[in-house]
Amino acid sequence: MGMTKDELFEILDNGFSESVIEIQDLAGDNDHYAVKIISNEFKGLNKIKQHKLVYDVLGKKMGYTLHALSIKTEVPKE
């Protein structure tokens, strides 16, 4: 179970083009990460919808391959 930081980055980077993605490894066990994504795709969406986009990109991996993911989403500042 779990995935490496690089694998996670690649999935998110492919899912959100032209975005800034920061990943923090919280426990060193390939299973607990905190991600921060700054992307224009979040514009006009409430937090639930923003996080749902992240979950959509991760697909089935969330909750199965990956147990703990802390998400922070932001729209780029003008």
Binding site: K47, I48, H51, K52, Y55, M62, G63, A68, L69, S70, I71, K72
Partner: protein, 109 residues
């Protein structure tokens, strides 16, 4: 999803103004994320009800499908999914959550 499970979830979120699907109970949370949300609600003195998903595998899987949201905890306010741990924490820290409760008249007077 099983119709009974769906009805049970709908009953929980529609008959309670603030309802939390969590792992464990407010007194004994069994997951750090659930515990954080409980602490915020307790700090704000907002009355809430909860469902311990660890006691019912059907609800545990059903709630994820119901809301199209893959993780627990899930906080519902007036029947609407407000967020999981990260969103609730962020909203609490920037004051949005307090505003929501205030506007819905859910803060303990």
């Amino acid at each position: 999803m099983d119709q009974k499970i769906k009805e049970s979830i709908e009953l929980d979120i529609n008959s309670n103004d603030v309802h939390l699907f969590m792992k464990g109970t407010p007194l004994f949370p069994q997951c750090g994320f659930s515990s954080t949300v409980v602490q915020i609600l307790t700090y704000l003195e907002v009355p809430f009800t909860s469902t311990n998903v660890l006691e019912d595998e059907g609800i545990r899987e059903g709630i994820k499908e119901f809301s199209n949201w893959p993780t627990i905890p899930q906080l519902y306010i007036k029947g609407e999914l407000m967020g999981g741990c990260d969103i609730i924490k962020e909203m609490f820290e920037n004051g949005e959550l307090q505003e929501v409760f205030k506007n819905e008249n859910l803060l303990n007077q």
